[in-house]
Symmetry: C2
Subunit: 219 residues, 2 copies
């Protein structure tokens, strides 16, 4: 009884827009684009695949042809946003030579990227729980955190001491600016909040710079 021999499908035929060109289909891109919007608007759990395929004007069969699971779809969406953001920031900081000025530039670029609502929601809010802590930490390490570590290493080299503390510094700074980005996004006056953040980070960096040496074992 399944599959009546004679398939009507007349309505669907009319709906077809991409004339089934060869090679890589636009269907996958349509799914990614619409999934990005929906995930950003309603979160991972709040978005049903029926909504996604309806928005992309295809069916679940098409979706599961391109992605093995809902989580894999989310992962693709996540990676696209993540790599795009990392590339943007990288271009900005590569244009600056002085390590201390580069840190400020990187901070500014990161804060700007985090104001992008889709990036905020998907990469900062939904991804940790959706992908799981392990998978998310790995993705962050290979993207954002490595950028921060590059910057921090140059700072520490400019100072004396601090051997072996680069990763620790990077983790702390990354957490700080990640939290700062949320603060800016939620502020009533984002521009004011951003300038305050830059001021405070600037003070912290200035304080570190004023130390003649790092690395004194604590109590």
């Amino acid at each position: 009884m399944t599959h009546p021999k004679v398939r009507p499908a007349s309505v669907l035929r009319a709906a077809r827009k991409t004339p089934r060109r060869s090679g890589h289909s636009g269907t996958k891109r349509a799914l990614l684009d619409n999934a990005t919007e929906l995930f950003a608007a309603h979160g991972y759990a709040g978005t049903s695949l029926d909504e996604v395929v309806a928005a992309a004007r295809v069916t679940k069969g098409a979706l599961y042809h391109h992605f093995p699971s809902k989580l894999a779809l989310f992962e693709s969406v996540f990676e696209r946003l993540q790599t795009g953001a990392a590339r943007t920031i990288e271009q900005r900081i590569d244009a600056v030579d002085d390590p201390w000025e580069r840190a400020q530039t990187g901070l500014r670029a990161f804060l700007e990227v985090c104001q992008e609502p889709r990036f905020r929601r998907i990469c900062l809010q939904e991804a940790p729980a959706a992908l799981g802590h392990e998978r998310f930490a790995e993705a962050e390490r290979s993207a954002s955190l490595s950028l921060v570590e590059r910057i921090v290493d140059d700072l520490l080299a400019d100072l004396g001491g601090g051997e072996g503390l680069g990763e620790t510094f990077a983790v702390i700074f990354y957490g700080a600016i990640r939290s700062a980005s949320e603060y800016v996004s939620d502020a009533e006056d984002p521009d004011l909040a951003a300038s305050q953040i830059e001021q405070v980070i600037g003070a912290i960096l200035a304080g570190l710079r004023s130390l003649e040496q790092l690395a004194a074992p604590a109590s």
Copy 2:
């Protein structure tokens, strides 16, 4: 207990421990306890209510009598952990007078609390996505962040200047130690990682302390 008319339920009968005492039942506590374990082990989405009620040896009817939804159950679990952690940290820092030493003490207490697996998973990893960004931010503000702000305000008072930057400093420090706690948890050698974190935070605080004045408007 359960309908002796014809109903077997012999297993459940033997399992009842609290003899249906008056007023507040132990059922709610059993649900909260088991839900805490399961949410911590499998996350919010990965835990089914059937598992919860089976572990608590009750039925969904009992659960929905005490909690209006799965999210409300999670919220209760979250709040219990959150307030308990805040109370622990508060006691630790209230025993210290010097503001700079108190900051270090608070950091150490926070890092310890974050090593508790249930707190980590539920309050730090699952809660943001499960409760939603808005609700989670509010809970954090009223619990952890207010503690940090109290500490930071004393630091700024000890220094000169920095008027109106207390909240900004608190946000940045809170993000830093939140990220630091993850770093410590994931480290192969948590004790070493924790000491490195304390070292770096100590250096940052020392740097700030060495500044004669804060609050210089940036570019």
